[in-house]
Symmetry: C2
Subunit: 193 residues, 2 copies
DNA sequence: GCATAAGTGGAATCTCAGATTCCGGTTAGC
DNA sequence: GCTAACCGGAATCTGAGATTCCACTTATGC
């Protein structure tokens, strides 16, 4: 591969990641091309089709998330603050949609990406351990689970157009509100599953 | 207007309300027509265009919401449980998207509907009083407002396709989680506005 | 420096979904 | 039994976006 081509490939994946974060997995190829500063044709020379490009974005994302979770875990003494930190990290501007994009990847895009699936499972496993630890430490209520956390992360880090403007502007505010609701003792009648 | 035509008009608005609740304000005319058991042509004989029909749905919705809020208010001794009840009511299956649909109505659809705008303002005003009352009664934390509640209602009662399946299946679970986070004393460091 | 394979931009093409129009065939209501 | 209102839904019109194509550039090996 020629040096300039390799350089462009990098720009493309990066641009795709950004645009997908902003506009969701349905982001148009042209928007990605423009962001990368290349023509659509170039996208198609590197990726057979839209799905392949989106899948590449998925790989990029899952690793970013996993790294952040690890960092939060290492950086905090107790599990609860690790969770708090991680959630805050995801809510930071520019990071939004990261998690949703992951959740939204169409099945047919993921189906054969065993590496991606494995990475995501590892990440969830990791996250789950943290939640259980927090519950064991008595800082998090027991009637909620990682899946609740993940879903809420997905909901609030949605592509901005799909959220009420004020929520999109500060998802962290709402995510923290929900974490407050998950603290040990916060349960009202214990929402049943 | 002929009797059968009047009957159809009723079926159309009702069907539109249902379909909009399920698929959002962008629901296709054909889906509405099918639900109402009429042809698309019939929709256009009653409403000049899509927007007019959607606006009619908006009117229908805002009144339903207002009534429910009043009912919750009358039915509860304290403001907090009135809020709790109202939120639970909105979260009930079949009601979902009601609130979002309202929030999503495109500006150009609403612009001239002063009656609608007034009704909505009245509803918000009502809701706001309830929130302030709960705060005065010391049951709700002071650093959140009606708007937070409304936004969250919108987010969780979104059209099912836009939410992670488990959330769409039981938005109430998550709304209650949020309410728990809004109870007096739940605040962690007090999310700043 | 030059030949040339690799790379490029972006207009043109293809698809598809959904709004809107139209009209031959039906009915309610007198 | 007449006929103005109605109806259903096929046909048409549009816009958005994926994908293809090709004339034009530019690294790179010699």
């Amino acid at each position: 591969m020629r040096a300039d081509a390799r350089r462009n490939l990098g720009k493309i994946v990066e641009a795709a990641a950004e645009v997908v974060a902003e506009r969701g997995v349905g982001a148009p190829m042209e928007a990605i091309a423009k962001r990368a500063g290349v023509g659509v044709g170039t996208l198609y020379r590197r990726f057979p089709d839209r799905d392949a490009l989106i899948a590449a974005v998925g790989d990029h994302y899952i690793h970013t998330m996993a790294d952040a979770l690890d960092a939060a875990d290492r950086g905090s003494a107790d599990a609860w603050s690790a969770i708090w930190d991680f959630v805050s990290w995801v809510a930071e501007p520019g990071r939004a949609a990261l998690s949703t994009a992951l959740a939204d990847l169409p099945d047919e895009v993921i189906a054969h990406r065993t590496e991606f699936i494995r990475a995501r499972a590892r990440w969830e496993e990791r996250f789950d351990q943290l939640v259980r630890r927090a519950q064991a430490e008595g800082t998090m209520r027991g009637d909620v689970g990682v899946q609740d956390l993940i879903h809420l992360l997905n909901v609030f880090t949605c592509h901005p157009e799909d959220l009420p403007a004020p929520v999109a502007a500060d998802p962290g505010r709402y995510l923290r509100l929900m974490l407050d609701g998950m603290k040990a003792g916060a349960a009202t009648p214990a929402p049943s599953r």
